[in-house]
Symmetry: C3
Subunit: 468 residues, 3 copies
């Protein structure tokens, strides 16, 4: 018995299904390159066991708990920590039972595939998860978690991860990364430079953050040049801890290419807390261009994750804080927004800028034409809500004809749900193989070419795009 169909996500027709299967067999066991995500480096530094099934699968994963919330379950009953740090329900078994009771809500969703994949492939379970089996599941997973083979480092290895990037703020001391580096463990866990707190004038405590930024780097961050220098030094520090990329999660993809004088004046306004909403947006835009310029020097890949309206519900933000499933995409322009940046550095061959979107309408209209022209651009994989079979198909169908495969950047799992990493990469590999098989079966791609492309999409393009 099995929870998962062995041929899942492959085309239904016999011929392309066979091609997809053949392609998949050549990539299924390739090492996992995870160049962008939100795992906690402390896991691998300390290598403590995961506390219990609910804290592994439910509480930290907003993909999972928001679905239950959408059907009337309260975050408190799921033990999701409140903004003040307190917790409603503390009994993990009770939480687990609520999860089981609502598992049907995930029918047809990627979460269902990911969870069943983890249950089956990580924990060896093969009976369906539901209210009848909830306790047996809980006991089984709990017992496994107590084994050494289920500690973070051991799972990292059994998942076949070649490289895993986490994401840290510019002010982070990277001590967990240092501890990993200095340990006798050889797993490659690297950091990523995420400077929101010091590039976004609307970020809580921005001015103090910039001061602290100066203290950390020994630069006078009350001046524009000192501030930029502080970024340079901090990027170098992140590089020492493995970073090959920076990451920028703005509400829009706006960029600016201001004169030095204008940028400086804007910066002074920003640290004085005097930016209007519009000026704050302009400053963030200018900083994308500054980051790209620094990338020309230090070689970090620049990731732009644009278009999320964060904390849509003020009530949820007040009660339970950020990252609780209430970040909603909105319409996002790239073609005008990126023009200042691209006019500056878009034709640079030695620069890698990876674009992500939550607005699928831009795939064919904006992103593929841009990436199919500018040498500096690569398209990141389908992000967040769109990291799914249908999302991947739409991405390929809407970008390949204009930008081809070689202007894309492989797969990201982008997750904080550690056990879902192999599942997510598996969905990506299968979906890409399904797409390629369809191209072959309809005479749009040679079969031998398809094998090469499958390998590239799974492994080579991610390594190249992120210089791993």
């Amino acid at each position: 018995m099995a929870l998962l169909d062995q041929d899942r996500l492959f085309p239904v027709e016999d011929k392309p299904r066979q091609i997809a299967r053949a392609l998949y067999e050549t990539v299924a066991d390739l090492p996992i390159i995870s160049p962008h995500g939100h795992c906690d480096p402390q896991w691998f530094a300390e290598n403590e066991r995961f506390p219990n099934p609910s804290e592994l699968f439910v509480t930290p994963d907003h993909y999972v708990f928001r679905m239950l919330v959408s059907q009337g379950v309260s975050m408190d009953d799921l033990g999701v920590p409140r903004a003040d740090g307190s917790v409603g329900e503390a009994d993990p078994r009770k939480i687990w039972r609520i999860f089981a009771e609502h598992f049907h809500l995930f029918r047809g969703t990627p979460s269902s595939l990911w969870l069943n994949h983890s249950f089956e492939h990580v924990f060896g379970l093969d009976i369906p998860f539901n209210t009848d089996t909830a306790d047996a599941y809980y006991d089984h997973i709990e017992a496994k978690l107590a084994e050494d083979a289920f500690r973070p480092r051991a799972l990292f290895e059994s998942f076949g991860i070649e490289c895993l990037a986490t994401t840290e703020g510019a002010l982070d001391d990277l001590k967990w990364h240092a501890q990993i580096r200095d340990s006798d463990w050889n797993g490659r866990v690297i950091t990523t430079y995420r400077p929101d707190a010091v590039v976004d004038p609307e970020f809580e405590g921005f001015a103090e953050n910039v001061e602290k930024f100066g203290a950390l780097t020994g630069e006078d961050t009350a001046t524009w040049s000192g501030y930029l220098n502080a970024h340079r030094l901090r990027r170098a520090f992140f590089k020492e801890h493995g970073a090959t990329a920076s990451d920028h999660g703005h509400a829009t993809a706006r960029t600016e290419a201001l004169s030095r004088q204008d940028a400086e004046a804007l910066f002074q306004k920003a640290i004085a807390g005097k930016c209007s909403k519009e000026e704050a947006d302009a400053f963030r835009g200018q900083m994308l261009t500054e980051m790209a310029r620094m990338s020309l020097d230090d070689g970090l890949t620049l990731q732009i994750h644009a278009g999320s309206v964060r904390n849509h519900s003020s009530k949820v933000l007040a009660s339970h804080g950020r990252d609780k499933g209430f970040d909603i995409p909105s319409r996002t322009d790239y073609v005008h927004a990126l023009r200042p940046l691209l006019s500056e550095v878009g034709m640079e061959r030695d620069l890698n800028i990876i674009l992500f979107t939550l607005d699928e309408t831009v795939y064919g209209r904006e992103l593929a034409p841009l990436a199919g022209a500018y040498p500096a651009l690569r398209l990141g994989p389908p992000w967040w809500f769109f990291d799914s079979y249908e999302g991947i198909m739409r991405f390929r169908e809407q970008t390949t004809e204009t930008a081809g495969f070689y202007n894309t950047a492989g797969f990201n799992d982008d997750t904080r749900a550690f056990c879902s990493i192999p599942a997510r990469h598996d969905v990506s590999r299968r979906s890409d193989c399904a797409y390629l098989a369809t191209l072959v079966a309809t005479g749009r791609l040679g079969e031998s070419d398809a094998f090469e492309v499958a390998h590239d999409l799974t492994y080579r393009l991610a390594k190249e795009a992120y210089r791993l």
Copy 2:
């Protein structure tokens, strides 16, 4: 011989086709729940025969006549009533022949499926409709319409309708509903509260409507509190005539959560006819929030139908009036527009708000993420232009992975073309079964789960969402 393929809309491949067929067999004959539409309650109150084939199929159905108009047929030649009440062509047989002559225009459209379904299943016709058969069709249908079995109530029953909601304005006296209720007929025909005339400051005669609203309810609708009370009373009156929902068809999805004082001031401007375009929009937005608050008390489901640019052609509006096929969708934002309303009541578990859109780009980007988070939200089925096989597929493919099935609200036929009701529900059932079968065949859904979901999509979810 048959007009329709028995396996229409099912996947082509053998395996999923068999699954789709098996799923469909379990839902094909379930009762029809029609919780939103535009049938005329007078039909069921008086139970008079339908006048003739053209007035049944052509003249009242803008889906049908606008297609002929788009190819140069004049509305007058089709007997579409003019704005002044006069009629061009009055001979129904002549109209019918023009219809037949242009029937090829419907190739590949849902209208073609709906019409052929009605011809075959309601009237027992099995030869193709075209200029050669036009007269035979006319005579056959005309003869049937004279039979008692083809009167409205008899058709209602033979269609297997369990519940049919019509839509009436807030000032309507609901006399036809009263007559149905007081008759010896047991068909469940209910009303829906549609208050456009008294919530939209740009509606013709708004101020007088609000006055009449006061007279009807005994409230002083010159005051904000009296006006709100009038709504409460009117909603109660509609509930007495079966209503379980209100319906709001604004050009945008804008909502507001103004202070009482600001709302009151805006209302005074509105009844004084002094609202700017922007203020009128804000007032409509505020009223959506007020309606949601009232729903918390009286339990009516709130439907938001946003995004139609009504009466695009001023010439057609002048010559033939409203609802003549010249309402065109436009880009519509939900994520910012709904924020004020959702911040107020979005987390309420006992509130049902059903969102409809004519902008398919919001399915995956805005609606599914919102409905997959806020407990108060449900997604309405594909609406109007998108109530079709491809439209349903896009809806499912773009919403299921984020919002699942259980944040959707079943099917609406939304029609004033009575005979198309069984046809439309059949297309919906077949399309959903096709989608589910594809999920099963690609390992994304368990087969036994699929049977449960098929039943839910056809029957249970509509009853729940509308509290029927």
Copy 3:
């Protein structure tokens, strides 16, 4: 051996594949109607041989060279002429080798299908193109180009072209068209009226262009009425050289219906060089309406190609000029933008306006509802980035259900790559047949109807829409 799969682009499943093949067989050899494109009329006037393989396939085709540029190849190394007229690499064989080296970039793109189609069907090549075969390819094609059978007129005939429209500016003397007309060759090569230089106040040298326009026509183009008369006369001159259409490539689809007085005032501002950006846009919009009014008199079909942000990279514009693959689509509204024009002339049955878009989101939301209502409107085929299998499928799937087939205008190849013309029409024919076959196999279209529709989409609708 063959480069192309004989059943390419047909559905994979046996039944619809057979239907698609049967449909395709009836349209594969129909004459090519090419009512919109950018071939150079000089080719057919002078009938000189094409210079070499690189100048046939690489240098002039921005679909091809931009893909190499996007991966870091420089335009100079590809011999793309610079803005100042100079050329970097001049050795066509070297360019050809770079092309071969990067041919894998086209995997999965329509360019790959088009190029392989040309290689196989025009030049009789059947080994894969790559670095190993690059020189053999070059020598083979070069030898063929020296043959009379490969001169422009001979290829025109062997391609089965019944009519080919080129596009010329309003100030063009049309001497090549006159030379073709006056030659003993009977190929139908016609012009199209493209007045950008004299209707766009932001066009380089607008004021002087309008003066020259006056000189050419003997009208006083310093007055609004003289200027309009000049258009009338010029349109008549273009008609004498075969034109059946005008073409308008604005950044937006904005139209205006200004009073005569306001239009006149705006025109005076425009020729005085005093238009703001907004006024320039309004003037272009007014001119669309003026062109439509003239079409009512002279019968020219009006084409609107809206939504391209031209010359996105200022660097590339400076170094290599226009049309270098850096024109990027952006979000484009039609529903509000076209309202003034449509209120004036949308209900005219004798007017043909063909709408094109680079924003696929408008297919279902705006264009199909508009074309499914207004008699004057037809939908042009998928344009530019979307002239591909997936692009065609999305177009049909998103427009057919609302607008049917008969509000569409057949296929355009829109190309300056002469050898790709048969390839592009072949892709269009196959894709349409695939779509129709899917409709038949899923019971949405009768099989005999499908044969009629296939013929209409391939041949009749283009002739009708362009009055050829």
